[in-house]
């Protein structure tokens, strides 16, 4: 009986810890809310913050600035009054870390040199070329994108 009293007394001694714990839980809930809000907005990919659109050589390019490892993502090149053929090139270093799973429509030819891969498409008028990308691992990535002779550097981040 005496031992039981002692145990209950010991539990009551931890009340101070319980109060501190609740405080930490409240802060943690706020951090979790911010984390999820950031996720909703697209800070971890797939949202308005991540979706980026740029103009290059008269073409509109749309891509995700933030990607996630092993999660596929699309890279769009919108054509407007395009010539009969369009050449799009990627730097090899980028493609070593980010795999192209599929290209729609398929290029008519592929060429490579020391540090770039060139995809040639039969185009004309309006349309869209979609590259389905799969990041192989995490970290920051630098894409050197070329469209019809113009080159632009694009920075992306892949979350683990």
């Amino acid at each position: 009986m005496e031992k039981e009293k002692l145990n209950i007394h010991l539990i009551e001694d931890e009340l101070d810890f319980v109060h501190k714990e609740r405080k930490v839980q409240r802060y943690a809930a706020v951090v979790m809310f911010l984390f999820l809000a950031a996720g909703l907005l697209g800070f971890f990919g797939g949202g308005v913050v991540s979706k980026t659109r740029i103009s290059l050589n008269g073409f509109e390019v749309e891509y995700q600035q933030y990607l996630r490892e092993s999660t596929s993502s699309e890279f769009f090149v919108y054509l407007e009054k395009a010539a009969d053929t369009t050449v799009i090139s990627f730097n090899k270093k980028y493609l070593e870390k980010i795999k192209i799973n599929e290209i729609v429509p398929q290029p008519v030819s592929t060429k490579t040199n020391d540090n770039r891969i060139f995809y040639t498409f039969n185009t004309g008028g309006e349309g869209v070329i979609i590259f389905y990308l799969m990041p192989l691992n995490g970290g920051s990535r630098e894409l050197v994108l070329g469209i019809g002779g113009e080159i632009k550097q694009i920075k992306q981040f892949v979350y683990y």
Binding site: Q25, G39, F44, E69, S70, Y159
Partner: protein, 148 residues
């Protein structure tokens, strides 16, 4: 090496998030908690086995646990919400008399009540049971005769 780091990170995250959610989350396995654990298990497995992104798993687990906390918060404040989300307890035996219709609808056999009576109260027969209640979490509570 990466596998160890993944396991370490995910273990820590899950430990922290369930501590954040409070003691209630895993103690009472309601329908939603059960679904939560199944999905958390699947997401964790994918992230651990290098099949998916850790960030994706953290977002998924974080969303589900936060939903669980929100559901618990609403259930605590609004009884109707609690009834809809978690159901209500049901008396299945009264003063030693089994309520057969209720038992049949809930797929409960006399053996289940007797098992709960033996395990929880050390009772030998249904005559010794005042009430048997099918709780919200699916467990059977036994109130022996002689207790108010």
């Amino acid at each position: 090496m990466e596998l160890i780091l993944r396991a370490f990170f995910i273990y820590l995250f899950i430990l922290l998030i369930f501590r954040m959610a409070g003691k209630r989350t895993l103690s009472q396995l309601t329908t939603f908690d059960f679904i939560l654990l199944l999905v958390v298990g699947e997401a964790t497995q994918q992230a651990l086995l290098n099949d998916g992104s850790i960030t994706e798993a953290l977002l998924l687990i974080g969303t589900l646990v936060t939903l669980d906390v929100i559901f618990a918060f609403f259930s605590e404040r609004w009884p109707l919400f609690d009834k809809i989300a978690n159901g209500v307890p049901l008396i299945i035996l009264k003063n030693g008399n089994p309520l057969i219709e209720r038992m049949e609808k809930e797929n409960i056999e006399m053996g289940d009540i007797l098992e709960a009576a033996r395990k929880k109260q050390g009772l030998e027969s249904i005559e010794q049971i005042k009430y048997a209640v099918l709780e919200k979490d699916g467990k059977i509570s036994i109130i022996p005769k002689g207790k108010e």
